[in-house]
Symmetry: C2
Subunit: 478 residues, 2 copies
């Protein structure tokens, strides 16, 4: 494997290929085939996220993949933002369609016309719905598997409320779900930023987006949640009858965790120079038994290896005995590259004594475990493993945070691959020209102000020198 820190881009390309995560040879540009080793984990990630959504009162629904063009035109910012990225259907069979249809790039314009029908009175509110789905965007930026492709796998959640404060609470709930799922279960640290006004979701009042740090020091945007106010409600006539008997527009939010991209973060943050390091909960295979054969005892050891993996499987642990013809060393490398959390080394002595040698993937730690205690050991050790993986990831993430008070300092910090806070004139539209100048001069993107911290800016904007009104974070981005 390549060196992850020194050459992350090469490492990433190699791991996605060698671990058979995806195949880039599909014959439509920007589309990839997601192979079993990644899909099994991403399906588990979907389950984790959907449990979070359901625990907070969301219900699943499935909306169509095709949206009439005229739907987009109902919200002027939204049509501007999305139609340049749309795959258009103009024919079906031999027939030209009367109106062209968009393959959904996101579903606000499909869903909110239904909300307009579904919501009548206060009793119909709140509406909290999620749709696990794919979306298609004709990206002009360079694509990278899982990180950015023209087809991606996500969940979109669309909520409607009677009051603005409820919609604000929803945005907080969306952020907590991200914390529970992405950090809690997958061990990936991030910060939620309130994006600058010039970089919000088209049609939203404000956008809150999570950024994680990739090993090359660039930020990767994870889920974002958007306060839509009444913009879309007005465009799609989403109203309810209030206590006074008047029609009132709903307050809406939408939220989009992109599972395929979060997977990119999981493999990039935890991986090392030997390959993938997968959280136990997500690993397609949680433990692999590698028999170490010596002449005379081959059959016995292989039989024991099978018994062990069978007994683990019966306990719901995803286990396998690798009885292929390669050497044990080759197998160790292979399964380490695939990120299997535990390896059980089984020689004649272990087969006989029932005292097994276990090796943890993340830190190489060896443990001796009695066969009867194996399942319990995996259960407790996997919890320690996740805690250790989180600790390491947080340390790495925090080491990437820094500060600057001038453009020159900022440039130096960005060169080191950091996420840098700087005093800035404004996170509102007034700051846009400074952000453009900043981008031009040091290649960094303004990610916005840190959510929930009320960090105060001191001094002057690093670009225009006016009194700073916002402490914004800057990084190079994916």
């Amino acid at each position: 494997m390549k060196n992850k820190k020194a050459d992350f881009s090469e490492w990433y390309s190699e791991i996605t290929k060698e671990a058979e995560l995806c195949d880039l040879r599909y014959n439509v540009k920007g589309f990839v085939v997601f192979m079993p080793w990644s899909v099994i984990s991403m399906k588990k990630m979907y389950s984790v996220y959907e449990r979070e959504l359901e625990a907070t009162g969301h219900q699943p629904a499935w909306f169509p993949a095709l949206i009439p063009e005229s739907n987009f035109h109902r919200e002027s910012k939204h049509v501007e933002g999305f139609t340049p990225q749309v795959f258009w259907v103009e024919h079906a069979g031999e027939n030209a369609l009367e109106e062209r249809l968009a393959m959904r790039p996101t579903s606000e314009t499909a869903i909110y016309q239904m909300y307009s029908l579904w919501i009548q009175g206060k009793a119909d509110l709140p509406v909290k719905i999620y749709h696990p789905s794919q979306v298609w965007r004709y990206e002009t930026k360079a694509t990278r598997p899982f990180i950015r492709s023209r087809e991606f796998y996500w969940i979109e959640s669309h909520n409607a409320f009677a009051t603005f404060p409820e919609s604000e609470s929803q945005v907080d709930e969306d952020m907590r779900m991200a914390e529970n799922a992405i950090f809690g279960h997958f061990g990936v640290p991030f910060i939620f930023f309130e994006r600058p006004q010039w970089d919000k979701f088209p049609g939203a009042l404000s956008t809150f987006a999570a950024d994680t740090m990739m090993p090359d020091g660039r930020v990767l945007q994870l889920p974002s949640t958007h306060l839509l106010g009444q913009n879309f409600a007005k465009a799609f006539d989403v109203t309810f009858l209030n206590e006074k008997g008047e029609r009132e527009y709903c307050y809406q939010t939408c939220y989009g965790p992109c599972i395929s991209r979060i997977y990119a973060a999981v493999i990039s943050v935890h991986g090392d120079d030997r390959g993938l390091v997968l959280p136990y909960e997500l690993a397609p295979l949680q433990a692999v038994v590698v028999p170490i054969l010596k002449k005379g005892s081959e059959k016995e050891v292989e039989k024991k290896a099978m018994q062990l993996s069978d007994s683990l499987s019966k306990k719901g642990i995803r286990a396998k005995a690798d009885l292929s013809e390669s050497t044990p060393g080759f197998k160790y490398n292979q399964w380490e590259m695939k990120g299997v959390p535990f390896r059980i080394e089984l020689g004649a002595r272990e087969a006989e004594s029932g005292e097994l040698t276990l090796v943890r993937r993340d830190n190489g730690k060896k443990s001796k475990v009695r066969e009867g205690e194996l399942a319990d050991f995996l259960s407790s050790e996997s919890a320690s493993m996740l805690a250790d993986m989180k600790k390491k990831a947080v340390e790495e993430f925090e080491s990437r945070l820094s500060k600057a008070i001038s453009l020159k300092e900022l440039m130096g910090e960005l060169e080191k691959g950091r996420l840098v806070s700087v005093p800035f004139c404004s996170n509102g539209m007034e700051g846009k020209s400074c952000a453009e100048e900043l981008k031009e001069k040091c290649g960094g993107d303004v990610r916005g102000t840190r959510h929930g911290r009320k960090e105060k800016a001191e001094g002057n904007c690093v670009v225009c020198g006016k009194k700073a009104n916002a402490l914004v974070y800057v990084a190079r981005q994916y």
Copy 2:
């Protein structure tokens, strides 16, 4: 509710609307919005089916939704069969695409080019992969929600083997999975037929398809599995190196359980004149507590209702207390219409004594159950419930089977809404013209010969009068 037997079509329309299963008001013809009450059940159906697939060694993968037109042209029968039904993408953003792209109507032509790359030697075989997905077909037949729409939810499974007998075993395994999932878990009976040669999957050697009976006496096709032989392997160069060191074409199968359509069968087969009857495993809500309030003890009873539903929820049972303002009678009707398997009627006496009254949705049976034994009771009674639902469904299904030995008799049986076996000249291409004549004269479709029974035909073909070579089944179809 309408009468299911007397007016199934009306009943079906009413239940899909009243139980909020889908919304037909979406503004693209043939596309519907699938609402939470159906989606929650269909997601559970996906899980059941995917467990079957994984237990038989299948792994999940995700293939692109867009397929270049030229891929279809590699298999001549396939292009003929599918391209008239395709939604075509010709523009992306402002750009005209070099080659138009099909929204997948099925994925053979997307997947097998990848298999050609993935399969090299015998060690790579068998390949057993499934993809839970949506497909899009520009149907010209009348659409009905869940039964036939232009977007549907299915699983496609695509397997490749070194030998023909292995591919035959796969087709058997596919049929067993259908038996386990659709009859075993969902309680819907069906028969697998080998479809006539003129009605097989475009590009296959032979097609085996499950037919169930809808309440109006028409058959609905459930999963089909196809023996592809080497047809697609030749078209897409799917080969392996055999023991002699020669390149050999793989033998392939594909399988397509359509979850949204199986759901149509579940609600149609089990439903009654009061509404849905859902199998316990699939029900979004498994037990509803309805408080019966009398003055003076309202608070106490409502509190108890909440406690009960909370304690069931904690045990993993999907339960809810209905504390809305309607009368108990209204609530009974409402939840019966929604198909909730168990209703718990809770008055002041029950709240105090802890002896609860439970009512089963399928047969109205009342039971008295001690509060502490509630979860155990639900577990055992839900098993009896599924068994009773199956028994009833099988009796109904079997009452629909009949025989005829002349066109006149056949017509009479078809009028009664039956699935009728008749002596027929051939299930091969030679029988096609007789099938067309039969269709014209009595509106019945030849469904093929019963799989796995080796039923012998006696007498003469009901159409041409030649010696019968096949006992085929005929019915009116969806």
